[in-house]
């Protein structure tokens, strides 16, 4: 009946962070179309950074806001704003990394034409051309826009759209590495295929839940779980399929298989974006869906999540031990960290939520900066990511090795780094939430992770450098600023975590 249709009410101000970032992305497309090639890169950097900083400003102005917007489809509340702010900062840092041009001999780590057949004559020419590729900026911004939307999505259809918006540009960006084209293209295809596969699970879950609750709003689903007489099998299967889609994106075992291949093959700047930002957005969405939509059925999903968290921590930590490639090792470490963050999710209390939020901030900055350091160590064929070529780096370049060692210590959770405070926060919340056994597994897994982080440190400082080993390139201000930001946040959160802990604590309240 046409007469029943009401114009939805929109509070544009509350949605402004996402509008600004998406707007900047659209502007970036226009820049690609109309700005002359010479000045495109500069304009793109300015537009991207302005968009993300604008988004951050909007988030700050919205601080304390808590309401449902867009007819209940988008929740602007503490966790949303906290994560959106974090994503804007980390996104800006990723843009800086993408803009780095002084490391690679041909300028930039992003290939000019991604579709050229690897090994062909064009490919050889491509690897020596000085051409640059600026479409990556709008792609990154679209992806970041999707990441801002995902933790805010209070409606499963919108959630799915956000998931696709953030994923599709990432699939493309994974294939843009200038060096080792074949690996990069393989990564892109794998990521795309598996991402599509998992999205299908997610969508199937949405359909089943619609069948269960008659609505895709998380609030309605929550209400439905309180009513007797609905079809429980639909609920449980829907929840399971939804969980698969989410756990795929956060990289939990057994859905982690894509992580090492994709992290290794993608350009390192894109890997940094994926490792830091995608994980934050995905955990934001996971928290909202599980806490808001399924807060009442926690006894159904907690055992499953327990098992997932345990195998994720253990498999991530154990598999990292035998890795010989720095990027693959960091990929497995990110899998292990997914497990640690899941420990906070399982706590299902306010401490768990605030601890998880804090962990995401701490982990995001550290891991982004760690990947940034990886871009610095190079030999003639690009980045030297094989661990053996990192031997003796401490003698050749004590500063870079020291900074990297610091990030590794933070990832291992050594006191006086953000990693320690973060682990402390989630483990403590989990203990309070009655998951002591999980914490024990977590601590053991931490010990295993500390082993392989320490191994890299030993390798860098206590072994003689290979005569033909890699050199440490001098980065421009872009990468240097990113590393400095990561260093500062890692250190400050380790020594003076209180302000951010307080902020996370205040933010840890979902609107329903």
């Amino acid at each position: 009946m046409p007469t029943d249709i009401q114009a939805p009410s929109f509070d544009y101000a509350a949605l402004s962070p996402m509008f600004i970032v998406f707007g900047a992305a659209v502007l970036g497309v226009l820049v690609e179309a109309f700005v002359p090639r010479r000045s495109r890169r500069r304009v793109q950097i300015v537009v991207s950074l302005a968009g993300l900083i604008g988004g951050l400003v909007a988030v700050v102005l919205l601080a304390g806001h808590s309401s449902l917007e867009a007819e209940g489809a988008i929740a602007i509340d503490g966790p949303t704003l906290f994560l959106q702010g974090t994503l804007c900062i980390l996104g800006a840092a990723s843009i800086l990394l993408l803009s780095e041009r002084s490391l690679d001999s041909s300028g930039g780590d992003i290939v000019t034409q991604a579709a050229v057949l690897p090994g062909s004559r064009e490919d050889l020419q491509l690897s020596e051309s000085q051409g640059i590729q600026t479409e990556v900026y709008p792609l990154a911004l679209f992806s970041l826009g999707g990441m801002l939307l995902w933790p805010a999505a209070n409606n499963l259809i919108l959630s799915f759209i956000a998931l696709e918006v953030l994923s599709l540009p990432l699939y493309l960006m994974a294939g843009l590495a200038r060096r080792r084209r074949l690996l990069s293209q393989e990564a892109a295809v794998k990521y795309f295929l598996l991402g599509a596969f998992s999205s299908a699970f997610f969508l199937y879950g949405v359909a089943l839940l619609y069948g269960y609750a008659g609505s895709v709003d998380l609030g309605d689903i929550f209400d439905a779980t309180g009513r007797a007489g609905s079809n429980e099998v639909l609920l449980l299967l829907g929840l399971a399929m939804l969980a698969v889609g989410l756990l795929f994106k956060v990289g939990a075992v057994p859905f982690q298989a894509w992580t090492p291949d994709v992290y290794q093959g993608s350009p390192t700047a894109v890997t940094a974006l994926m490792a830091a930002c995608t994980k934050i957005a995905a955990f934001g969405a996971l928290l909202r869906i599980f806490y808001v939509g399924f807060g009442r059925t926690e006894w159904d999903w907690r055992p499953m999540m327990w098992a997932i968290a345990i195998v994720t921590m253990v498999v991530g930590a154990v598999l990292a031990v035998t890795q010989t490639d720095v990027k693959r090792m960091l990929a497995y470490s990110s899998v292990a960290h997914t497990g640690f963050i899941l420990v906070g999710v399982i706590a299902v209390n306010r401490e768990g939520l605030s601890g998880t939020l804090f962990y995401l901030v701490a982990y995001g900055f550290t891991t982004l900066a760690a990947f940034a350091v990886v871009t610095l160590v190079r030999d003639s064929s690009g980045e030297a990511t094989h661990l053996s070529s990192w031997a003796g780096l401490g003698q050749r370049s004590p500063l870079v090795a020291g900074v990297f060692a610091f990030f590794l210590l933070a990832l291992a959770g050594i006191p006086l780094t953000s990693g320690f405070m973060a682990k402390f926060a989630v483990f403590q919340a989990a203990t309070q939430g009655g998951a002591t056994a999980l914490v024990v597994v977590g601590v053991v897994a931490s010990a295993v992770t500390a082993f392989f982080y320490a191994r890299v440190i030993v390798l860098m400082f206590f072994q003689d450098p290979a005569p033909d080993g890699p050199t440490v390139a001098i980065p421009s201000a872009y990468t240097a600023a990113t590393i400095a930001l990561g260093l500062a946040v890692t250190l400050v959160l380790g020594i003076l975590p209180q302000p951010v802990l307080d902020l996370a604590d205040q933010a840890a309240l979902f609107v329903r």
């Binding site: 046409p2 007469t3 249709i5 009401q6 114009a7 939805p8 929109f10 659209v26 497309v29 226009l30 690609e32 179309a33 109309f34 579709a115």
Partner: protein, 120 residues
Amino acid sequence: MLQNYVPVLVLFVLAAGFAAVSVGAATITGPKRYNRAKRDAYECGIEPTPQPMGGGRFPIKFYLTAMLFIIFDIEIIFLYPWAVAFDQLGLFGLVEMVLFILTVFIAYAYVWRRGGLEWD
């Protein structure tokens, strides 16, 4: 509750029945004069054999064009319900739709400027 689905079921039965009847009728009543072309697989104009070299690569431009078509196709699908409820949605609907069309046109402008519409 399942009664709602009875018409669908009936539709399925009718469709299957129609296909069976027509194929069956053709087989029984039609003349059978075969030649080479008739024995080939049905491929709407493209020679199925022999297979071209390298698995039959053909220009990516087909895809581009197809995808552009789909985008504008979908745009129209979105326009249709708006047109139906235009009165009720008022100014809000107009603004949102203009924004939507604008966004699609920006993509169009990008493709156009970057030569995506040129065949060669």
